[in-house]
Amino acid sequence: MSEATPRITAPYLESFSHQNVRILGKVRQLRGEQATVDAGGQIIVHLNRDAHLQLNHAVEIIGKVQNDLSVKVMASTDFGPEGGIDFNAVEAVVDATHRYHEIFYDKE
């Protein structure tokens, strides 16, 4: 099994179900064990105990896409206030990841 965690946004969730992915988005809502992250659309994430998400911060989540297209968090990294991250670049990276996947991940 590959160790790659492709960077995706909400529209890619369906094609990556049951796979490990990496999502860089903005924290929109915190509801205890659950949170909503905006990354090209709303994504519901199920937090683990180590996850310390902050509202209106950018966060990078490594997790597994579930059946219902929510994401189970395995690890999260705070990327600071969302204004500090250029989300056009983030979008471009996701686009490049799938357009030129040969240098990012192996397609099954």
Partner: protein, 281 residues
């Protein structure tokens, strides 16, 4: 008779060699006396590229990525694990495309490598940028790092991945063709702005596909050259009258520019003395 020639030749050669070797010894940890410095490159890559890079032979010093030799590489990754050994520190880096080990050899003389006060430290789960050389040891790949430093601005992660993609496309699909840079040059020449033309051509000649434009070319010669370059290329090339109406420019001026371009070996005459074609196509 040819003593003079021989003497100057060898002494020049010695000077070159002497000047170069001391610098190369600072280059780092990789031994190997006969490395080809001429082909040394520093390439931005993803870890996936390092893992899938082709190794031409088990003891080769370089790897092949996108059919081109890669020696030094630079990449970014999240530190998954730091393990300090007696002779080196091993970092496990994950950039989302794969995981690879990075070894930084300890400098025994000064153990202040990354513990200098005030310097941001490398921590687990933090992002780091590495400059180093890909190595294969006992069927396992790792990177011998020259430098590893923490990433301060996380936009650098995105920047690096896009840069690696751009370089990958450069090697796999060829450099950006002139179609990308020329419109800029055209626009500038339409505005008949000499500086604009210069910068436009700077972009063109930067690509491997672009032709070398002598720096001392006059602005009218550059305009004529750009007109011929952008014209539909045919066997006959362009007639002086066509060029004069397209730029537009006085026929006499075009004639002078054409002479200059011919003297520089950039164009040649075809069906008659006043019809010119590009020499490099």
């Amino acid at each position: 008779m040819d003593y003079g020639y021989t003497t100057t030749y060898t002494s020049a050669g010695n000077q070159d060699g002497g000047g170069f070797l001391p610098g190369s010894q600072n280059a780092g940890d990789s031994g190997g006396a006969k490395r080809k410095f001429g082909t040394d490159t520093l390439r931005p890559v993803t870890i996936h590229q390092l893992i899938s890079a082709h190794h031409p032979s088990p003891d080769a010093e370089h790897f092949i990525i996108d059919n081109s030799e890669a020696t030094q590489v630079t990449f970014i990754g999240q530190i998954r694990n730091i393990s300090t050994q007696t002779t080196n520190v091993t970092y496990k880096l994950d950039d989302g495309t794969g995981i690879i080990e990075v070894k930084m050899w300890k400098d025994m003389d000064q153990d202040t490598n990354d513990s200098a006060p005030g310097k941001p430290a490398l921590v687990e789960q933090g992002y780091a940028r590495v400059w180093g050389r890909l190595k294969a040891f006992a069927n396992k790949r790792h990177v011998g790092a020259q430098i590893i430093r923490p990433v301060g601005d996380l936009n650098e992660v995105q920047y690096h991945l896009l840069e690696a993609t751009a370089v990958h496309l450069h090697f796999s699909k060829g450099p950006l063709d002139n179609g990308q840079t020329k419109p800029g040059a055209n626009g500038a020449s339409a505005a008949s702005n000499t500086n604009g033309i210069d910068s436009g051509y700077g972009g063109t000649s930067g690509g491997a596909g672009g032709m070398q434009i002598p720096a001392n070319l006059s602005s009218r010669a550059k305009k004529v050259l750009s007109c011929i370059q952008n014209a539909q290329q045919s066997q006959e090339g362009l007639h002086i009258q066509q060029i004069a109406t397209q730029i537009p420019m006085d026929v006499g001026e075009v004639q002078k520019a054409g002479d200059e371009l011919q003297n520089n070996g950039l164009i040649y005459t075809t069906v008659d003395d006043n019809t010119w074609a590009l020499l490099d196509v």
